[in-house]
């Protein structure tokens, strides 16, 4: 019998018996999926959308993503240092936050605003609550909401995507060729700017945030996550289902006033939000039924904001609002144990 003398770094619960045999609690098998692996899957799923944004917004997309990564990772590192906590960069959750934040920002946002959003996302959205798993709100959306109120006009300045390979889109926000997002166009009608044809919406050749425009690229990533079971069908189903149902009813009731449901699906960040933002594990309810309700709430609120609010896009606020409700939903939608509640 071998005696394992090499002391490897061991988990809290592992200890060595007298004979060199290890003693541990059951179970002695484990699923290979770790937190890190979950986060890595999300990162992989975001690659197609990033490639699409590279095509449409060129080096701006790289610039915004790099700044977000620097801001998020540095903030997380500093917080852990100051609080004498083990470093949590390796769980990759800060990377996911950085990418999602970057994808939800306009490509021309100046560097200081991007950095500030990234710092706020991690500091205010995550570390102030106690780090991974403790936050109530989606950190990336906290960062974006902060930017939205702080630099409102910068956050609503859009550029048209590069149509063909050619000179890169100007980066200086003042000289940038401003363009309206498809959602902004459907507010009061403007005869000069026809709505983009639906196919362009799905490919993503429209003005908008970095990663939200290409629905096809997002769906490829979403399919990967669903196949890997990193996310399940509940939240996307709830969110898209409720949003489309809402849009369809509005469209049928007043076709001239409201855009058709397919337009709403393709425009803005509905798909991005449904598959990649609202599905954030930490800030959604625990139970399946709870997640369906959570998703449906996100979908309805998004549509209410889009069609009746002043903001053209409602995904961010709807997710933040439902984040706040998630603990309550968790309490209401608690699964009943098999065999019913214990007697007595």
């Amino acid at each position: 019998m071998s005696v394992d003398t090499a002391k490897e770094p061991q988990g809290d619960v592992v200890s060595s018996g007298p004979g060199g045999l290890e003693v541990q609690p059951a179970p002695h098998l484990t699923d290979p999926i770790t937190t890190r692996r979950l986060m890595l899957d999300v990162i992989i799923a975001l690659i197609p959308a990033f490639l699409a944004s590279l095509v449409f917004f060129q080096w701006n997309s790289l610039r915004v993503l790099a700044l977000c990564l620097i801001g998020c990772l540095a903030t997380e590192y500093l917080f852990n240092r100051v609080r004498n906590k083990p470093n949590s960069l390796s769980d990759l959750s800060a990377v996911v936050t950085a990418i999602i934040l970057a994808f939800s920002l306009p490509p021309t946002l100046p560097w200081f605003a991007v950095l500030m959003g990234a710092i706020v996302a991690i500091a205010l959205g995550k570390m102030f609550f106690g780090g991974l798993g403790q936050n109530i709100f989606n950190p990336a959306m906290v960062g974006r909401a902060f930017l939205m109120v702080t630099f409102a006009s910068l956050m609503t300045t859009w550029v048209a995507p590069a149509a063909e390979p050619g000179p890169p889109v100007p980066t200086d926000r003042v000289e940038a060729v401003t363009a309206a997002t498809p959602l902004a166009q459907i507010k009061p009608g403007d005869p000069e700017r026809p709505l983009p044809e639906t196919w362009r919406l799905f490919v993503g050749r429209t003005a908008g945030s970095l990663g939200e425009t290409s629905v096809i690229a997002l769906l490829i990533g979403a399919a990967y996550l669903l196949i890997r079971r990193t996310i399940d069908w509940t939240i996307p189903f709830g969110m898209l289902g409720a949003a489309l149902a809402f849009a369809a009813i509005a469209y049928l009731a007043a076709p001239g006033k409201f855009a058709n449901p397919m337009f709403h699906l393709g425009a803005g960040s509905l798909v991005f939000g449904a598959f990649l933002i609202a599905t954030d594990l930490v800030t959604s309810p625990l139970s399946k039924s709870g997640r369906v309700v959570f998703g449906a709430g996100c979908g309805v609120l998004t549509m209410v904001i889009r069609q009746f609010g002043t903001y053209p896009e409602g995904v961010m606020f709807s997710i933040l609002m439902m984040n706040a409700l998630a603990p309550l939903i968790g309490r209401w939608m608690r699964p009943t144990p098999l065999g019913g509640k214990a007697r007595g």
Binding site: M1, S2, D4, E8, P9, Q10, G11, D12, V13, V14, S16, G17, P18, G19, L21, E22, V23, Q24, P25, A26, P27, H28, L29, T30, D31, I33, T34, T35, R37, L38, S88, D91, S93, G131, L132, G133, Q134, D232, L281, V282, T283, S284, P285, L286, S287, K288, R291, R334, P335, T336, P337, L338, G339, G340, K341, A342, R343, G344
Partner: protein, 466 residues
């Protein structure tokens, strides 16, 4: 999970919702025929190998004992007698460490010689006993219960609940079905699989006796679909009995748990805090069924058992072992541990207990020994819960394991109970799926232990007052 459920419905396989699908690792020992292990120089027989009161020793040191002779009598109603498993001479009373970590008294027995032929014959008699038996219908139920009690039968799947208590059903309880649990959902273990293949007739005989004892008109043999040979063998053995059917279950952990098996096979749900009895069912394990046949037909007590020794040993297989044989002896017989062995688990890897000391004897409830290598040992680095809900999605009892474990972690027993702490069956699916490496089920177990201590204390205080 939904897709799996649909698949199982289409193929008419019995399945329960949620649970996990670990790789079963059964290929190592599946095709190894049961092999008898020679008697060691000394066996150590604990007086408590079951749930309930320990047996009272009736032997003195340096006393000659015969195989099958009673050396400890039942210490109460929920208890079981203990028998000598070998011929030999007793030593002074000692104590041994049980898998649950408590020390119990035991008696060492210096074994006499036994020839290889005798050993082989004994195994043959154990698997396929020869000679006429009385049809089960002609035996009085009370006689079956009595035989089980005298033979010291306990649940040999690992639960070790005294069998005669289980079979002694009060008349107002209507039991309509006995389920023979051959699902063996623990990865690595194949002992029940081998028994069903090599001793199918005796196992079915045991089921018939159990049905007779509880007055159930129907018997269901539940086997997971990863054991096709066992299914075929049991189908053949049960062919002559119209009251017995074979139910093929999907391979899924923890199919063998009563609370999963009964919903899967019979579509009945055991109420929380209740027993299979509450839905008219008695569940008997394969090895127990075999032992019951021996106890009734041949008055043979529970003195041997078949277990799987697998993993990082040189000759993994299924071994026929005398109760009280030290683990080290079985392992040596199988060629010893491999160099990279790091963890010896009593039972399977999902619910088994790691043993630091290999002098621990095999008991009636030892269904297997799984040896994991250094690389296989799970080194959980507990990180923050990310509230992913995987434990909730996989809990076969529809509990919220993360909520319970966090409540226990923060020493809030009341909150843990509000989240149905005591309903947990400790299957470990939650720990298995947790991406943050949190030993969820361990927290829940310690919470349950704390609650049990609290109840015991309350009871003691109430008794003092009265």
């Amino acid at each position: 999970m939904i897709t799996n459920t649909i698949k199982s419905k289409l193929t008419n396989k019995k399945v329960f919702p949620r649970g996990v699908h670990p790789h079963d690792f059964k290929e190592q020992t599946r095709d190894r025929a049961i092999e008898a292990v020679p008697w060691p120089k000394e066996v150590v027989i604990p007086f408590q190998q079951h749930i309930g009161a320990p047996a009272q020793p009736t032997v003195k040191p340096r006393q000659e004992v015969k195989r099958g002779e009673v050396i400890g009598t039942a210490g109460g109603f929920v208890s079981a007698p203990v028998h000598a498993s070998v011929d030999g001479k007793t030593g002074p009373l000692t104590t041994v460490l049980t898998p649950v970590g408590t020390r119990v008294s035991a008696v060492p027995v210096q074994t006499a010689e036994i020839s290889q032929e005798q050993l082989e014959q004994d195994l043959k008699d154990f698997l396929q006993p020869q000679g006429p038996v009385k049809p089960a219908d002609l035996i009085e139920p009370e006689a079956i219960v009595k035989a089980a009690a005298e033979a010291g039968l306990v649940g040999m799947g690992g639960a070790t609940f005294p069998t005669h208590v289980k079979l002694k059903v009060s008349p107002e309880r209507k039991i309509d079905t006995v389920v023979l649990n051959g699902s063996e959902c623990e990865p690595y273990l194949t002992a029940d699989d081998r028994l069903m293949r090599e001793a199918s007739g005796t196992v079915v005989r045991g089921l018939m006796l159990a049905m007779r004892a509880v007055g159930a008109p129907r018997g269901v043999i539940a086997i997971e679909d990863n054991k096709p040979e066992a299914i075929a063998a049991m189908r053949q053995a049960a062919a002559g009995y119209p009251s017995v059917e074979v139910a093929v279950c999907a391979a899924k952990y923890p199919m063998g748990g009563e609370r999963q098996l009964i919903p899967a096979v019979l579509n009945r749900v055991i109420p929380t805090g209740g027993l299979p009895l509450d839905v008219g069912v008695v569940v008997v394990n394969v090895a127990t069924s075999l032992a019951l046949a021996h106890a009734v037909d041949r008055s043979r007590p529970a003195i041997t058992r078949v277990l799987t020794l697998t993993g990082a040993v040189h000759r993994p297989g299924n071994y026929y072992v005398a109760i009280g044989t030290p683990l080290s002896h079985v392992i040596e017989h199988a060629g010893g541990l491999k160099d990279d062995a790091a963890e010896v688990i009593l039972g399977g890897p999902m619910m088994g207990v790691t043993m630091p000391d290999l002098s621990t004897p095999v008991t009636k409830g030892t269904s297997g020994i799984t040896v994991l290598t250094r690389d296989q040992v799970v080194r959980r680095q507990e990180t923050a819960c990310i509230r992913c809900g995987r434990c909730v999605d996989h809990c076969p009892l529809k509990l919220m394991p993360t909520k319970i474990s966090q409540a226990v972690k923060h020493r809030d027993l009341e909150l843990a109970k509000a989240y149905d702490l005591m309903a947990c069956c400790e299957c470990g699916c939650c720990s298995y799926v947790c991406p943050a490496g949190i030993p969820v089920v361990q927290y829940i177990k310690s919470g349950k232990a704390a609650e049990m201590r609290r109840r015991a204390r309350e009871k003691a205080e109430a008794a003092k007052k009265a």
